[in-house]
Symmetry: C2
Subunit: 331 residues, 2 copies
Amino acid sequence: MTQTRLDVLAIGNAVVDIIADCDDAFLEAERLTKGMMRLIDADEAVRLYDHMGPAREISGGSAGNTAAGIAALGGKAGFVGQVAPDQLGEFYRHDLTATGVEFTTAATDFGVPTGRVMVLVTPDGHRTMNTFLGAAQHLPVAALDETQIEGAAILYLEGYLWDPETPRFAMVKAIDVARRAGRRVAFTLSDSFCIDRHRDGFNGLIDGGRIDILFANEAEIVMLAGEVDFDSAVAAVADRVETLVVTRSEKGAIAVSDGERAQVAAEPVDRVVDTTGAGDLFAAGFLAGQTQGRSLEDSLRIGAIAAAEIISHYGARPEADLKALVAARLG
Amino acid sequence: MTQTRLDVLAIGNAVVDIIADCDDAFLEAERLTKGMMRLIDADEAVRLYDHMGPAREISGGSAGNTAAGIAALGGKAGFVGQVAPDQLGEFYRHDLTATGVEFTTAATDFGVPTGRVMVLVTPDGHRTMNTFLGAAQHLPVAALDETQIEGAAILYLEGYLWDPETPRFAMVKAIDVARRAGRRVAFTLSDSFCIDRHRDGFNGLIDGGRIDILFANEAEIVMLAGEVDFDSAVAAVADRVETLVVTRSEKGAIAVSDGERAQVAAEPVDRVVDTTGAGDLFAAGFLAGQTQGRSLEDSLRIGAIAAAEIISHYGARPEADLKALVAARLG
């Protein structure tokens, strides 16, 4: 196996978060289920935007957040995703590269603007996401750089990529390239509604032996396994992947890897402002720990530290010095 | 005098804030003076953006922030400013109208994008602003709606408008329309460097009797008066306008109006995150108080409450319920 140049290469939907506060009554009036992510078209994007409150724009995207987190933790991260040649696309590229992430996918005009997620944050810090994928849904196989994939120790993919067909093909192709080069493949289930849409596809990836590290939260693991309780769901899925990581919000997280089991409590947070990106940053911390050769438990701990930082402010990109936070806790 | 439809109509540069953290060394390397606002061209905007850290975008602009603050305080506010037909322009319009501000100036393609301010925030919460005016510098006299100006109790203008010639003409025209309709005109000196560039113009406006309410901070009033100490500067300028309001950061604020003098302490703040917009929101609070028929001291107090809220988070648009904050303090 050749030397690696990147610790993690993440592929995902390149989208800017447009974050606004709202109350529970607004979600109800819009018939939105709190905590869910739904895909919307251009018309609905305009209609919803007209109804929501003043917003701030912060670059996001699940795998992009994870890449930014890994870079903030001192790792070498790359990102592959599709933006359009517009202002949102420029923000996206700026923010990711300013974090130290390698992002070389060219902006391309497919006749649609850069994707955006209208994130509605309720006073309890929960986010309800309305995603207009825009350019992100056009990420072509041709945008992949095989040498870049081969040079990354871990290829990381978000389940959201499965939604539109074009990036789904790119994802599957990337997995094949990584596998052939002997690299590890990590995958996040992203969202329970996403699993509902693509259960067969996800199970096919897992049982086809294409995924080494699987990330899920409680709802997702239960839904994927089709089991009624958490413990049986974890037991059932842990047998099917090398490493399973399950986050449990304020209950912490567990990991099962080749029979070894570890668990950590959640890190304390003064005030939960916006939970957007908690899972993404947990994955960043865990993967950073793994690529640094840390133990399963310490990798979980770094995930918990990164997740705690991200939920203490708006947006899903780190604001504090994650490396220093980890050094203070773990050395 | 006819009935008014708006409490305050604000005219200013329509710009989106692109806010990034930086350290003092970065300001030094870029040879930037902390706390100043400088105008930059398109090339410098690109160069600086390439060097600065990950950012968040929040609609801003001095007079726009003031209009948003007045609406958040329950007042009827309007805004006049020039955006381009692009994503930043859409954000700007959305955020202002979602706050309840009337904003009817059409987006126009002058071949330049919507303006933006790269705001560099140091750990002490101070902001250093780098403004690319873009479309804002093209605000034409023709964009003014005379009926709208005549229907506003107070016309509010930012000194920054004086920088480019086109909006300067629009501002002077708007003052004439307001004056003819018997309305009050309020003006903020904006920035001490701005006064340095336009001292004669500003003194001409004041001594021509075109300004009723003048807003300044300590540095600005001293620079405008050309006096060496604060008290003599206030005394000298107070004689030249009906109402003078001077903010003094953590030392509070004073107002002198037709011989009456009032002063308030600053409101307590847990942690100063970003001082962007402190002066803008102070002006919003003061003007809201005045249009509600409050005393000089209570108007200052509302200004201090609004300013304290804005410096406790990133961005210069209110996030908390300002009306409730004021009701809790003043009833």
